[in-house]
Symmetry: C2
């Protein structure tokens, strides 16, 4: 009686697009470029023209001798610039980046005095804010030889609570007003997994790891409009740096709702692969299984982020042996083996991907053991991820490849951490530290990211670090543990194809093969040929996502 009862709208639109479109009508061409991408196997493919179809996907890659399509909807002359796939940041905190862009940033300060000056100026400029919130301080960088104190802060902001997160997010610094507002008593005890810094037995102002929440719980929650503003600030920043996709590590339901608002209102451009901040958030966000890809491959809840230990700087990373600079301490274990297995099992049983934060060698071994146990029951393409994988006992490295475990690492951490890592670990335990090349040689899938806002999300700093293991100052000359330097193609791979693979997205973006989303950047340098210094300061000229330009650098810089 009725010919069709399918969802006709979609089927018809698709049919019209395929049947009515005469060849090349409404396609776009980016021509005269020094184009490069990796293919599905990681081999470099060069091209001089890129044809984009109506869906915003790559239609064809053209070499110089190929005939150009005649009928085009638009055409861009790339003026010989390098065109490469948009960068995928395999580990970042989108809302954290957004809020950090909107709040007081102390990461550039070189002394306590400089920081206090910035804090006072910010408080004076924002008289209506009930709390002064900031982040990015690092007493190591200040050469202070101690943690800062509440008294330091009270001298510049006595009247309002001040709460400032350390650069690694693993410690917070409060003034007296903040401790009072939070009800921190002089005899407050260290919570499990946390430590209160003390002077004369009383809280001195800095709260480490689990102790952070003693103050943080009283910080007013951001409103939904604040979250929306933070997302847009983060997105603009990422696109300007050439990042077209990012794995969001520790997504909350409120974060997710902000992403959905942006998607629903068609202002979500950057592709977000979300990992919920714990099992409860995972279920609240996605329910019984990972979400589908939403908004033309711009958002998906892939799985869950789990924390095994803290950071090396605050001696929270869990080590197999004592800290070299603090005998008797081996870091903070966030979960025991049973708890870890239970959480990972809860995720895996419903096909959620697990991304486990492990910094120290003991934490890495703990999650490796858990994966080996779970892999017996949960078969198939699981893509277990270890986030950071900073300090690995060399004997554990083969265990990654055995279960196809992805090492999700951040090259810039190596640059920032090297002196601290030497102090914490001593020279004898550096063989498996930031061991990119050893992992690649062991056939471990590598994904690179920035850990923004812990570090700048600028991927060119990351690429330069990956191939040199030198800082921006050229130190140490020839690279720190130089045997772990990567080749340029390997480094680009980990920041594009590898990062997409780590998020189950390698058939959607991360390369520019035909059929993939046309996510690409135009650069003022060629990353395969430029000096490391030029690569580190490379500027993105244009960023395109899904065949639409979403960022363009101002001219005449």
């Amino acid at each position: 009686m009725i010919a069709r009862t399918l969802s006709r709208g979609f089927a018809l639109a698709a049919a019209l697009l395929s049947s009515a479109a005469t060849p090349a009508l409404a396609d776009g061409l980016i021509d005269n470029v020094n184009g490069m991408t990796l293919d599905a196997k990681g081999k470099v493919v060069n091209f001089t023209g890129l044809v984009i179809d109506n869906d915003g996907k790559v239609k064809t890659l053209l070499e110089r001798r190929d005939k150009r399509p005649e009928k085009l909807d638009y055409k861009l002359d790339g003026e010989g610039r390098t065109l490469m796939p948009g960068i995928i940041d395999a580990h970042g905190h989108v809302m954290g980046l957004g809020f950090s862009l909107l709040t007081l940033d102390l990461s550039g300060t070189r002394t306590l005095e400089e920081a206090l000056g910035l804090i006072k100026a910010y408080a004076d400029e924002n008289p209506s804010r009930p709390w002064i919130i900031g982040r990015g301080w690092n007493q190591e960088k200040w050469g202070l030889g101690r943690f800062p104190t509440a008294a330091d802060l009270d001298a510049v902001v006595p009247d309002r609570p001040v709460w400032l997160e350390r650069v690694d997010g693993h410690a917070g610094w409060a003034n007296t007003a903040a401790m009072q507002a939070a009800g921190v008593k002089p005899d407050a005890k260290d919570p499990p997994g946390g430590r209160i810094e003390r002077i004369g037995g009383k809280p001195a102002g800095v709260f480490v790891d689990a102790a952070e929440s003693l103050v943080a719980k009283s910080v007013p929650m951001p409103r939904a409009v604040d979250r929306d503003a933070a997302l847009i600030a983060a997105q603009d920043h990422l696109l300007a740096l050439g990042i077209t996709g990012i794995a969001d590590m520790g997504t909350s339901i409120d974060d997710w709702q902000a992403y959905r608002r942006a998607g629903d209102e068609r202002r979500l451009y950057v592709r977000i692969m979300a990992y919920a901040g714990g099992i409860e958030s995972m279920v609240a966000i996605a329910g019984p299984r990972p979400t589908p890809w939403l908004y033309d491959d711009r958002l998906r809840l892939n799985g869950v982020k789990l924390y095994l230990d803290g950071a090396l700087g605050s001696r929270g990373a869990m080590l197999k042996a004592d800290y070299a600079d603090k005998p008797g301490e081996r870091g903070l274990a966030f979960v025991n083996d049973t708890q870890l297995l239970n959480m990972m099992s809860r995720a895996a049983m419903d096909e959620f991907q697990v991304a486990a934060h492990a910094i120290g060698d003991a934490a890495n071994a703990q999650v490796l053991s858990a994966i080996e146990e779970l892999a017996k029951d949960y078969k198939g393409d699981r893509r277990w991820r270890i986030e950071h994988a900073q300090i690995i006992d060399p004997v554990d490295i083969p265990r990654f490849a055995e279960n196809g475990i992805i090492a999700s690492m951040q090259p810039v951490h190596q640059i920032s951490d090297r002196l601290m890592a030497e102090a914490r670990l001593g020279t004898a335990r550096l063989a498996g530290a930031y061991a990119w090349k050893t992992l690649v040689d062991a056939e471990v899938p590598l994904a690179f990211g920035s850990d923004t806002p812990v570090e700048s999300p600028d991927p060119f700093a990351g690429l330069a670090a990956a191939i040199t293991r030198e800082g921006a100052d050229g130190q140490p000359f020839g690279g720190w543990q130089p045997q772990e330097r990567l080749g340029r193609v390997q480094a680009i791979d980990a920041f594009t194809r590898g990062a997409a693979y780590a998020g189950f997205a390698e058939d959607r973006f991360g390369t520019l093969q035909p059929g993939m989303r046309a996510d690409f950047i135009l650069l003022d340098v060629d990353p395969l040929l430029s000096s490391p210094g030029d690569l580190r300061t490379a500027k993105v000229v244009e960023t395109w996502v899904g065949g639409v330009r979403r960022y363009e650098a101002r001219r005449g810089r």
Copy 2:
């Protein structure tokens, strides 16, 4: 340099659809029908053919003499059946309906013994369920003269907790195991806004209004898969009854996530206008403003549902004078005036619509006063809604029209409640009870719904009630307070165009004017001509949403 940088995919698809589509290609025709719809002003429009465009919207309405389009993608012969707009239920509980379809239903029981038999059978059939959950009991219908007790339940299910909601959702009935699991002590006190029924001073098993949570808090939460199953069960049920849209009253974030999962996976067909269950849920779901219409007008968070009082049956409705059958009691006030103003203001400041549950005349007066106060600050098209508006002091009726307040009412409640209402109010206070016609005459916008699962969602029972004010048994002959009967067109209006208007959807669905979503039903009776009895038992033959058939009755009934 570049012709366009807009979101090209969408623009191009739209351009192709409009330019490439030759006239009538790929349109559909529903022909040979006895078609009726209201126009934008509520006037009846008749037609014999309906043309549906590629978008699933109404393209044209054809009269018998009109030429039919020549090129069609599909054609349906309506065989002379009545075609009318899909019903919009202005007040229901989608997940409540779904769970009620999946759980023990006591609403058909006529005696306590019959109910206990069903409970025992259900417990025996479901040995693995840790709690036995049900709803729908009504001690008034049982002629019990008292509330049932825990001891009644213990006799049939002694070993597992049992928790059964009353038909109106305003009381719960527990067995001893449930009270023990919930930790209800023999000396438990009545919480504010609630009452524990007692025997010899000890909790007897029934918990009224706010006291319900003393037990309900311990009921295991449904899992996401349970929610998904409940949504699909509810949707199937609604579509089979000819309901293509519904206002969901009291949406939680978990409900919302289930609706989004269905939308994301393209299995959400029924149109849901959601009203969050409180300010916190409103913000969690929508953030800084109502959501856009999602999934081709199938989901939107319109606003917030607020509760002012309880139900008449359990004497929770807030009255201006004492209950006739319980002197000294005037019901339960859920919020004071300041709290109500604060909540309504919080919603209105961000353009959220307010739907305020008010049953008793005092509760209606309270919300009317609040709206009058807020209307000074919050201008524009607010469409304040009062849900139920069951008992209105006649002096308050003009106050509805003054601020364009929508009376969102449920005709079947009048049928179920009339004897109870007479007992609670006495005959002297019935003038403003279920006063549909008085409200229409006062030019108050009327929206009709079912309050499912409190009542059956069957809209034909509601339509029959609206025009007769007689029960299915024909009692009382000529109708209860018959001056409040509505005309057929008025009743259909409130169940279609009026219900859509109440949800800011009148330009999207609710009528079949050109440009509206093609949501319609084919019926085995003509609601404008059939006897009230035939109308009450009308059967839906087909239900179409957005130009796609989503329900078809089995043949040969």
